[in-house]
Symmetry: C2
Subunit: 209 residues, 2 copies
């Protein structure tokens, strides 16, 4: 929420520092993130989203086709960021062990930074339909494939155990990380980096003393 501002008849908000479409879009996304996470996609109305952002439906339709379009842009925003960062790790870090460490750190920091995005991704994804659902599913598969590729290259190179299934291990690691949105508390005693170190130790070296 920011300071009140005038709105033109077209619904474009005049920010004190000038008309700013990216900022208007950001305010709408932030409002929706808060409301979708709290009340769910179905129970949140378009009017609630624009009211909370102190904007109008005109401003909304300048940026989004519909509530479902906004939901899909929220999902894409998160997945695009994670896919780009994961690909960068795989492209630059050639040591397989370090690569997996960095992917685990990325996944957990994604959960910490984009908590609402992640919660909404899992709780509301089924409200996407058609092409929007297909696009988000494809991106999720792409992100999973980066993790799986890293594990499988490590198995192929003899760095990781040959009796492990790359698919099961990568889903296990992804699940372990994604699940943190259910319990990780940014104000708790452990930082997300410390959680990442524990998860890396667990899946690389195991729990046995």
């Amino acid at each position: 929420m920011t300071e009140p501002a005038d709105t033109t008849p077209s619904g474009r908000r005049r920010w004190p520092d000038g008309y700013d479409p990216p900022r208007t879009r950001r305010e709408l996304v932030d409002s929706a993130l808060h409301l979708f996470e709290k009340d769910g996609f179905d129970r949140t109305t378009l009017q609630q989203i624009v009211s909370r952002a102190n904007l109008t439906k005109g401003a909304f339709y300048h940026h989004f086709e519909s509530k479902e379009d906004l939901l899909s842009q929220i999902q894409n925003e998160y997945l695009d960021t994670q896919i780009e960062a994961a690909n960068a790790i795989v492209a630059t870090q050639t040591d397989t062990v370090e690569q997996l460490r960095e992917l685990i750190r990325l996944s957990l920091s994604g959960v910490a930074t984009y908590r609402a995005h992640v919660a909404i991704f899992y709780q509301e994804r089924r409200h996407l339909t058609g092409d929007r659902l297909a696009a988000v599913t494809e991106k999720r598969n792409e992100l999973e494939a980066v993790f799986r590729g890293s594990v499988e290259r490590g198995i192929g190179a003899g760095t990781f155990r040959a009796d492990m299934s790359g698919r099961v291990v990568s889903f296990g690691i992804l699940g372990m990380c994604a699940w943190a949105f259910q319990w990780f508390n940014p104000d708790g005693t452990l930082t997300i980096d410390e959680v990442a170190e524990q998860f890396c130790a667990l899946v690389l070296d195991g729990l046995l003393a």
Copy 2:
């Protein structure tokens, strides 16, 4: 769904083999599991639940106070089964490593057997309110505490590494297992027992060759 049957004015169904309240309840739960998972709690109406079960609202109110009551009974059904089995493992298996193995197997077999329960637990839990939410949250904490207790006893006994946080490790393992509802395919190439063996190997011995 079963064969058509007469219904009394009170909404009690006359099954061909006699009046059977547990069976009526089961049909309503199964109908709701299917609809809640497919369309979500909000979009599912009471009428859809009873129609799909070939029953009446009278039959519904004989067993449940409301749609929310039915949702909470679905959550409790799953959690009670898991808590009872987890406590039985801890009570009878004194070897810490085997105890954790059995808890992982239990958690994964729970996901395989109660897929819809688990999906609904994570997607719809926020629709519970008041005492119903408190009761389900308490049971979820109780189940997590059994896992955590097992890990912490293993750390205390020197079986598991002393530099690990029982809280982080147990949430990691629980997340890894719970996440399987997102990807495990009962008709796929791996059985849930094989997934359990891979997860046990991963968290106990680690991925490094």
